[in-house]
Symmetry: C2
Subunit: 293 residues, 2 copies
DNA sequence: CCAATTCTCTGACTAAAGTCAGAGAATGAC
DNA sequence: GTCATTCTCTGACTTTAGTCAGAGAATTGG
């Protein structure tokens, strides 16, 4: 990365914190100490466990307790023991607290509007588009890949969602049992690998590498959660699997895909996979690809 | 502005403050109280007058004084009376303070780099471009227009810089005396108007409207500071002058321009000015424009 | 030269933010 | 059933952040 880029990022940081930060502070605290205001926002309409609150805001337990007491005496919050574990207490908004939060919401809208107000419509569109792009790329930067056991909770949750989606998208539905196998055993080292993409502590994508023979690997189970599309997760996963394949000494990778998955095909072509004749009889496949490593 | 836009701005605010804000705090304070850290950054390599410091950070005079004392006892800062006015004191960084600031600089670079690091080169370019766009548009939103007396300090500073630039750009140089007049009197209500664009308390652009006859106005002295180009300032100034012209009951606007000022011509065309035959003998003009209001 | 003003500093505050060491109840492991 | 652990809370702090009133020097306007 170049000096120019770093310079731009720094300038951006400065300007944006000035704008957002300065305004947020004066605007959104509504005369309340920052600590209390933060708590109030963090307690959603569903309530939140006190320990979760502590965790999220990274505050001392005594401090949180005191802040909650303050909000309670203002009649904004109610803390009561939830059902289940009697030690854990949960904070809820009272009606008054809810309306306070609603006011905050309105102000937050106003703050956002104040960014747009001085601009003309064309500039507004540009600003919004650029903000979406920044947001998307910052989030993309937060994605973390980790190889996981194929039978881990995260892996299984990905696979379930993946199969569910295939069932919806394929003309004929999808039944994993009819498809060529990629069993847990086949995706467990050293027979294969399963990788999970994480974002904000949630699994949002996956992919698997299955060693077919001494020189051939198969890419399987490539999936990205709809909530995390457009962040380049699939590409990252694919590249990570390719690295792993190279490391393992493989010379080529195979994969097949269904014609309804056009984004996937575009990705494979972009990443250097060439369409080849069918190398297996996967019933759900319409295209077969190969890449030499 | 639409709900979708506001939603996007809010999401952007949230994400960015999380990223920048959270990191900046823990990263850049280096164990120092925020107030001290802010002061340390604001005292540049040249030193800074204490009152300027107060102004910039909007802090109480007693508070600043105390913070400076704290930095002094840490050996980071030295406060001494400057030459000239004996009341005004100026804060300077000691060598130790300078190195402390250098460390901060490095960390700030690292922070910026941490945004870029997880991305691939194409994504980095996209992020940097989007950040530049956001920065530019946020700054554009901060521009303020004010009608000012044509002989005010701001107006004169703009005009001086404007003439200086013309002298550089025109093949034949530029001598205001040879050019068609737009004297202070002619730009003073009700004979005419002078408008100044402000950004961060600095004049960064100007424009004038001179009433030629009962139905005709002339646009003159359109200029934007090089430091503020690309923010749409000229367009804003032009539109404000047009509004003023309409208000005054004018039916058409005239303006002329030199062939070297191609951006200006593009602007005039975009804003609905049509090129017409020369309506005066301005020696520096190559193109004459008219717009019906 | 005098009076008003400007600039910085100190003393004396208050409020918020945050830390630390337990106490007391509930739970989990064995 | 006992003991260690978990979770929340209170009391007793410290440090930051920020305000206010005024003192004392230097400067400016007339």
């Amino acid at each position: 990365m170049t000096e120019r880029q770093i310079e731009q990022v720094r300038r951006f940081n400065r300007i944006v914190t000035q704008h957002v930060g300065a305004l947020e502070d004066s605007y959104l605290r509504r005369g309340r100490p920052l600590g209390q205001a933060r708590l109030l926002h963090e307690i959603g309409p569903e309530g939140i466990e006190v320990r979760a609150l502590r965790d999220r805001l990274k505050l001392d337990s005594g401090y949180v307790s005191r802040l909650l007491r303050a909000l309670e005496t203002q009649g904004l919050v109610e803390v009561r023991s939830g059902k289940g574990d009697g030690r854990v207490r949960k904070a809820f908004l009272t009606p008054k607290g809810r309306s306070e939060r609603a006011t905050y919401d309105t102000l937050s809208d106003e703050l956002a509007a104040s960014f747009l107000a001085p601009l003309d419509p064309a500039q507004r569109d540009r600003l919004v588009a650029a903000m979406a792009e920044v947001e998307c790329l910052l989030r993309a930067g937060e994605v973390e890949l980790r190889f996981e056991a194929a039978d881990s909770a995260a892996a299984q949750s990905c696979l379930e969602r993946y199969f569910g989606e295939l069932a919806q998208r394929f003309e004929l539905g999808f039944d994993p049992a009819r498809s060529n196998s990629a069993s847990v055993a086949e995706m467990t080292p050293p027979a294969g690998f399963f990788i999970v993409a994480w974002l904000d502590g949630e699994p949002v994508g996956c992919g698997a590498l299955k060693l077919a023979d001494a020189i051939t690997g198969e890419i399987k189970r490539m999936w990205t959660s709809p909530s995390a599309r457009g962040l380049g997760i699939a590409r990252k996963v694919l590249r990570a699997l390719e690295d792993k394949a190279r490391e393992t000494g493989l010379a080529r990778l195979h994969l097949e895909t269904n014609r309804t998955l056009s984004e996937a095909q575009a990705l494979y072509r972009r990443e250097g996979y060439a369409e080849v004749a069918a190398f297996n009889s996967e019933p759900y496949a319409h295209h077969w690809f190969e890449k030499r490593l």
